[in-house]
Structures are given as C-alpha cells and as structure tokens.
Amino acid sequence: MLDHILSILIFFPALAAVFGFMIQKDSMRAYGVAVATIEFTLSLWLWFSFDNGVSGMQFMENIPLIPAFGINYILGVDGISLFIVILAAFFTMIGIASLTDTPNVKNMIITLLFLQMTMIGVFVALDGIVFYVFWELSLVPMLYIIGAWGGPMRIYASVKFFLYTFAGSLVMLVGMLFMAYFFYQATGVWSFAILDWYRLILPESFQLWLFAAFFVGFAIKVPMFPFHTWLPYAHGQAPTIGSVILAAILLKMGTYAFIRFSLPLFPDASAFFMYPIAVLAIIMIIYTAMVAYAQKDVKQVVAYSSVSHMGVIILGTFALNVEGISGSIFLMIAHGVVSGALFLLVGVIYDRRHTKMMDQFGGLAHVMPKYATIFGIMMMASVGMPLTINFVGEFLSLLGFYEQSHILTLLAGMAIIVGAIYMLAAYKKMFFGEVTKEENRNLPDVNKRELIALVPLVIITIWLGIYPKPILEPINNSVEAVVQLMHNKATSEDAKMRIPNVSGVVMTKTTSGEAH
C-alpha cells in the first residue's frame, strides 16, 4: 500500500466527495470530518514511513499517461513537500470540523474535499503537466467557495481571483512547453518530468526568459507585489473556511513552486534576478505592512499581514543558500499554521457579531478571556516572537539572506517591527480598554467546537517554536540536495559565487553514516 500512498492521498478525498452526494444533508458534517481525519491519519503515516536521511524523492509512482508526448503521472515526496502535504490534510480536517452554520453545507464539504485533492496533487506531482493540472483545478473549488458563500462583492472577488491566476498560469504553461521542447532538442525525447528537467543545463539567456515565464505564474499565486491586488478582495469576501485554506495552503503553492521549479531549473537566472526579486519582496513586506496598519477591518489586517509574511518567505527562498531556503520552507508551514489560525479566530468573532470592523469591538478581553488568550498567542506568533513557530522560519530566512546582502536584510528586519506595530494596535483596539458597545457585553466565549480547532494550532505553534528539529531536519536534507544541484548546474561566475557548494557537508554526513 505504501507504494501507492501518494495516489491514495490524492484520490481518497475525491472519491469520498463523489460518494458524499449520497449522504443525507444533516449527517454531512460528520462524514466530512471522518474523511478528513482518515486523510490526515494517512498523511501522518506517510511522515512516519518517511526516511529522514534520504534527500531525494520517496514513495515515487510512475504511470505513463501520454508517453507519445512525454507526459507521465509521476508522484513523489521529499522533505520540501512532505510537511506541506501534512499541513494541507490537517487544515482541511480542522476547517471542516470548525465549519459553523453554513447554508448548503453539503455542497461546501464536497467542494472542500475536491479542493483537498487538488492541493495534495500540486505538492506531490513530479511531472510538469500533472502539476499544472492540479494547479489549475484548484481554482475551480475556490471560485465556488468564494462565489457562493462569500460576502456582498463575492462574485467580483471570485472572478478576479480566477482570472488573475488563470492568466498567470497560462504564461507558465508556455514556459513549461518550452522547457519540454528544449529537453526534446537535447535528448530527442519529449519529457515533462521535473527530475528529467533537473538534468538539463540551459544557457543563461534561455534561463532568463523561462524564469520570467514561470515567475508570472508563481508570483501571481504567492501573490507578490504588484500582482497582489486580487488577494485582499478574495480574503475580504471569502467565508472563513475559504480564507483559512487560501492563506494556509493555496498561497504556498506559489512559494513551493519557486523552490521546486525556478531555483533548480534556472540557477543562473535565479542568481541574476535575486536582487530585483528581493527588492520586490521587501516592498511587499513594508508596503503591505503599512497598508495593514491602515485597515479598519480586522480580517483585512490579517490578510495584509499574511501577504507581508509571504514576502519574507520569498526573501528566504531567493537567499539561494541552505539556511534561507530551509527557513522559507519552515516559514511556509509556520505561516500556514499562524495565519490559518488567525483567520479562524476572526471567523469566531464574525459568527458572534456579524461584523469585522475593529471599532465595533473593544474590551473583548473582559468578555471573552479564552478567546483573547488564544488570539494573543497567535498574534505574538505572527509578529515573530521567539519561542513561537514563526520566529524560527523568519530568523532562518533572514539569516540566509544576510549572507547575500546586509542592507536589504536590515530593511526586511525593520518591516517585522512594523508588523509588530499594526498587530499590537489591532489587538489593543479589539481587546483592551472598556467594553464600549452594549452588544459586546454578553458575547459567549469560544465553544468546544472552536476549541477543537484552535487548541491543536496553539500547541503546534509553541511546540515547533521550541523544538523545530523534527521538521527542520528532513527539510534541511532535501534543501541541501537542491542547493548542491543548483551549484553544480550554475554556469555563470556570479551564480557559482552566490550559490554555495554544500557537498562538503553532505560528504561528511555520508562518511559518518558509513562509519557507524
């Protein structure tokens, strides 16, 4: 069974979703939770059977799909993707469990299960076209979730989300077709397999163009400044569950794809574009942090802070060294946990008051002490306080980039301080002071169902903040392999210099392994 565990992980939720049409409406939530729990258990089993010492792909599957055109159904998981897969399974479970009274709950759960299929598919696909299939397919459930259960401007928001990402990924598709064509020219066979592409060394001028094509697709998904304008609408209009999944998992597709495609395929171009992208990332960090400060809607604060932190992930990725990339992958997990939790928390108060405006609140700490505590912990984590999960990721990302540029890192570090300002200000407006509005006096504190969703997130936040090793080690192993591959493939002087040679580290590891 372990030979096909990745296929099972992908298609089990889809199959369950199809059968879900037969379930009676009132029992649907239990069914959804059951399916998502099984899926999460399977993903934990995947982690359990995962060999931490191996840097390459594990649990690979290979079925010919369109061999005449080099398209094969190839799956595999390594340290880079493993934890995002688990995160996706985890958040679907938590999301379904914490669903509040939703109209058409049956359609919602079926859609979520389909969405889960596409999310897992993106992270384990090792064939360009299979990756693209899941990448595009993930737009449809999200379009429906935002468009059918969203706020007043939901249709505008959902269509904007769809068209933006669709347009970007089509440019990426052209890039993929070029990549396959270059592979065909070099070897005489068509192939869209990513591991095949890794072996291809392209001249720098080609790399620049292809990098740009892939960049458009990924940057819109992340979303990087100046392509980020769809995100505030999507978050602002989406129902809680939509925002949670969007922030926790869907945005990670972009940053994950940078590490899976852009860096190892185009090392020279990555080094060439390092500074422009770092500048964009820093603009993104600072600008969105300032925008977040100006928001009156607490959900928009969380949304913009989420974009701001995505900037740190990008910065870490384009540090092009092991610390930076490992840190950015860790930060992806951390950002997923923290911003997912924050969106859930905003959902909690929205369910009670049906408003997200901060001036409607005030003094909530008196009324809802447990809620205020959890919100406080998550907010601290979001700010990047030491001993929380975000700190590890942010620190490593910035440390990685510090080796490339001191000044830019300093700027990015400043932005984290700005982050503290807007987050603390928002917290103060909502929770401290006197209770000013009568409606807020008798709000019930978090109930059991919400606690089931939130407590595990708090535990993870603190546990991985104190002891990140179980996750960091497999990530590190795989990242070392990627960086080494980039170093070997790099042709330009600049790239050779920027991308460190880690083979020394790997060598000592293997020798020590043999010595045992």
């Binding site: 055109f69 359609n107 397919l137 429906y144 059918a148 068209l163 347009a167 089509l170 052209v174």
Partner: protein
C-alpha cells in the same frame, strides 16, 4: 475523329467512392420510403440515418486499413485522393454526425423533424463534406462544398423561428459570395498552371520558381477570403452569430464543427505548400488573421447577453486558434489540429446539446432570447446535475485541465513553440485567459446567483429524452476522461498525418 475511351474498371478504384456513396444511397432510400408511405415517425428516419452512417463508418475503417497497408489511394480518374487527412476528417465528420442526429429525438415536437427530407438532406450534406475533404481537385472540392452548403442552408431554414429564415438567407448570401471567390481563385490558379489539382499547381509553381508571384498572390487572396468565410475568420465572420442564433441549438453546434473541419482540411492542402514555398506575405497575412480572429472574437464574446451567441463567438475564436495550426504547418501542428478538433467536437456538441435540451417553445416575458444568461441563474439549486454538466463543458472549453480541450490546446501551443512562433504561443495562451472570463460568467450565473422566481428547474430539461441524455452523457464522460484516450489518439493521428506528407 474521336477515339473511343477505354477505361478499365480496376483503374477507377471505385472503393475510394464507397464512403461517400453510402450516405447518398441512404438519403435516396429515405426519400423512397416516404414516397411509398408518408407520415412515418421521425424515429424511423433517425435510426435509418444512424445505420447508414454506421455503414459509412465501416467503409472508412476499410479505407483506413488499406491506407495503413498501401499508403495513399487515388481513384475515379484520379480526382479522389484518399490519404490520411481525408480518412481522419471523414472519421470525425461521420462520428459527429452520428452524435448529432439523435438530437432530433426531442421531447417537444419541432416541425423540421417531421419532414423526411430533413434527414435526406442531412445525409446528402455529409456526403458533400466527405467529397470535399477527400479530393485534390479544386472542381470536385467545389462541388462537394456546394452540395453540402446548399443542403445546410435548407436545414437551417426549416427551424421554426422567425429568425431562421433570416439566418438561412444570410448564410446563403455569404456562402454564394464565398463560392464566387473560390471559383475565381481556382480560375487564376488554372490560368497560371494549367491544372486544377492542388499538387499539380504546387509542382508547376515550384518548377517555374513562382515567376508570376503577383498572380499567385491574387489567387491566394481569393482563396483565403473564400475559406475565411467558411471558417468564419474575422473579418469574414459577420454571418456566424446571427446564423447560430437563428438555427436550432443542435444545428448550431453541428455547424461549429463539421463544415469548419472540412474547410480546414482543404485549407491545409492548399495553404501548406504556399506557406512552405516561402511566400512571406502569406505568412504575415495568416498570422494577422489568426491573431485578430482569436482576440476580437473573444472580446465580442465578453459582451454577449445570450449564451448561444456567446458560444457562436467562442466557436469563431476556437476556429482562429486552430487556424494557427495551419499557419505553423509542421506535422505536429497538423496533428494538433485534428486532435483539437476531435476534442472540441464532443465538448462543443455537448454544450450546444445542453442548450437544445432547455429549448422552450414559448418564451416567458422576462426572457429576451432563447438562451439568455438570466435563464440559467441559480441553476445549481433547481437542476444540480444539469448545472454541473454544463459547467463541465464550459471549463473544458476554457481549457482547464484535465478536461478534453486542455490537451488540444496544450498540443497546439506546443506546436507553436516547436515551430518557432513564440509570440503566437503567448498570444494563444493569453487568449485562453480572456476566454476564461465568458465561460466563467455562465458558471457564475448558474452557481452563484439566485434563481428567477417561479423557476422550478423543469425548463432546463423540458426537451430531454433518453436519446438526448445519452448523447450529453457520452460527451460529458468523454470530456472528463479524455486523458485516457489522448495517447492512442495522438499516435493514430500523427501516423496518418505524417504518412500523408503533411
């Protein structure tokens, strides 16, 4: 003194004519049956048509077998040319027709289907298209084209809407103009080369090294205009939306597939050698034509308020997309054309059949046209299965993976990349994104809006019968599971196209 003409029957190779003669015999048989006993039910004629098309399909399998063994066949005084293109396109024509004809078995009665002539004309039309694609001879192509078109005009006019006559007359006028342009173009070619066979024309022009380039260009302009009318390329497309609106949804779906495929095959035969001859001017004109057709039709489609008109413009855009394959002109792109068109045929036929299934005899007051967007508002709440299937077809038309049309788009864009048309590839990709908007618009109406008051969902399936549902089910399954058949299909197509020398 005239010497007696001696032709042995073997040299005529009459087997090449068999696939075209079968529908003609079928059509005559339908007329004869009606002569003996009138007033028979349409189901009889539908089944007879299907049977003859099945025979036709069998004959095609036979020719395909001979082609794989012996290569290209000539017949009937060498005017028939049975190569891979002819066989492939006839397969698509016959299969699409077999899928189309059961759409006549509607729940409501439409008077065109009560005439047996409808089915006879339909079969004549098919044989016309079959002649058109399996000849190298401009005269035979012309005869096939006109046989098919004249039958098609009548079929359109038989529908019971006021606009149907307008549509038929409009189509007829434009078709007549195109026919005139075609014959003028052929005349110039004949004057230049003394031949009306495309390969002879190519050989003679090659031999004198395009000495009379001016006249060649004149001929090409006429030919290009003629085919642009048939393929509804911008700016020769103006008839298309009105004709689609006037004809029944089923017929519109059919028109968006079969006549265009026949025209594509002839343009492939004609323009391929001209592009490869290095007539730069033609390449530029085709490039502009392709880009303008794709883009402009997409932009017009954005502002339509009627789903059928939207689909009409989308068909124009798809035609432009596929025309790019002829411009690129490599084996890969020509195979991509056929792959695309096969996948397009059942997706598009499926979506037009969905409209056909919801066709009302009398429009309620709030509804401006047969298939306005409002009609589909909130469909997910009242008819969830129908809405999901319709959404599936829209996503496939938009080119969302893994549904059918995505693979066609992938292969055509890839052939543009391989053929060195980088900018074109990008424009094609971005056009798919523009097109995404209007397909999504229908999904937005169906899934995210509230239904119009008093709509109980019955009207979406008011015309449904088992036959219609099976056709739609077949198209839906084909759309979802297309990725299973892409590989054998691709290998089959590529072999046939390659062995025909394209």
């Amino acid at each position: 003194m005239l010497s007696p003409v001696n032709v042995s029957l073997e040299s005529l190779n009459l087997i090449t004519l068999a696939p075209m003669l079968i529908p003609i015999i079928g059509a005559l048989m339908i007329i004869v049956i009606d002569l003996f006993k009138g007033g028979l039910d349409k189901t009889l004629y539908v089944v007879i048509s299907i049977l003859f098309l099945a025979l036709d399909f069998g004959a095609l399998l036979e020719s395909a077998g001979v082609f794989t063994k012996d290569g290209i066949m000539l017949g009937a005084f060498n005017v028939m040319l049975i190569d891979g293109l002819a066989i492939l396109s006839q397969f698509i024509i016959v299969l699409t027709s077999m899928l189309f004809i059961p759409l006549a078995m509607t729940h409501k009665r439409f008077h065109e289907f009560s005439y047996p002539e409808f089915f006879a004309l339909f079969l004549f039309m098919i044989s016309g298209f079959q002649f058109m694609v399996s000849s190298d001879n401009l005269i035979l192509i012309f005869v096939g084209l006109e046989t098919a078109s004249l039958a098609l005009y009548t079929l359109i006019a038989m529908h019971n809407r006021d606009k149907s006559f307008e549509a038929a007359v409009k189509y007829f006028t434009m078709g007549a103009l195109a026919a005139g342009l075609f014959s003028f173009g052929s005349m110039v070619f004949y004057a230049l080369t003394g031949s009306i066979e495309i390969n002879q024309i190519a050989a003679v022009l090659e031999a004198n090294n395009y000495a009379d380039i001016g006249y060649v260009l004149v001929a090409v302009v006429f030919m290009l205009a003629a085919f642009s009318f048939k393929l509804s390329l911008v700016p020769f497309h103006t008839w298309a939306p009105d004709v689609y609106e006037g004809s029944s949804a089923a017929m519109a779906g059919y028109m968006s597939i079969v006549p265009k495929l026949a025209a594509f095959v002839v343009s492939m035969r004609l323009f391929e050698f001209l592009i490869h001859s290095g007539v730069v001017w033609l390449e530029i004109v085709l490039w502009i034509l392709v880009v303008v057709t794709m883009t402009a039709a997409n932009i017009w489609a954005l502002v339509q308020t009627d789903v059928k008109r939207m689909l009409a413009y989308s068909s124009i855009s798809h035609a432009g997309f596929v025309m790019a394959a002829i411009l690129i002109g490599t084996t890969q792109s020509n195979s991509a054309l056929f792959l695309y068109w096969i996948l397009f045929s059942f997706t598009n036929l499926g979506s037009f059949s969905m409209l056909w299934m919801s066709r009302q005899k009398h429009l309620p007051d709030h509804q401006a046209s047969d298939h306005s967007y409002d009609k589909f508002a909130g469909m997910i709440k009242t008819a969830p299965v129908a809405a999901s299937i319709m959404a599936l077809f829209m996503l496939s038309l938009a080119g969302l993976p893994p549904f059918a049309l995505f693979w066609g788009k992938l292969y055509i864009i890839s052939s543009a990349v391989t053929g060195g048309y980088t900018v074109l590839a990008l424009i094609m990709a971005l056009n798919s994104a523009i097109a995404g908007y209007y397909y999504i618009k229908l999904i937005v109406y169906m899934f995210m809006k509230e239904p119009v008051l008093g709509n109980d969902g019955h009207m979406y399936v008011s015309n449904a019968t088992l036959a219609l549902k099976s056709i739609i089910g077949f198209a839906a399954v084909g759309t979802i599971f297309a990725f299973v058949i892409i590989n054998p299909l691709l290998e089959f197509i590529t072999t046939f196209v390659y062995n025909s020398g394209y």
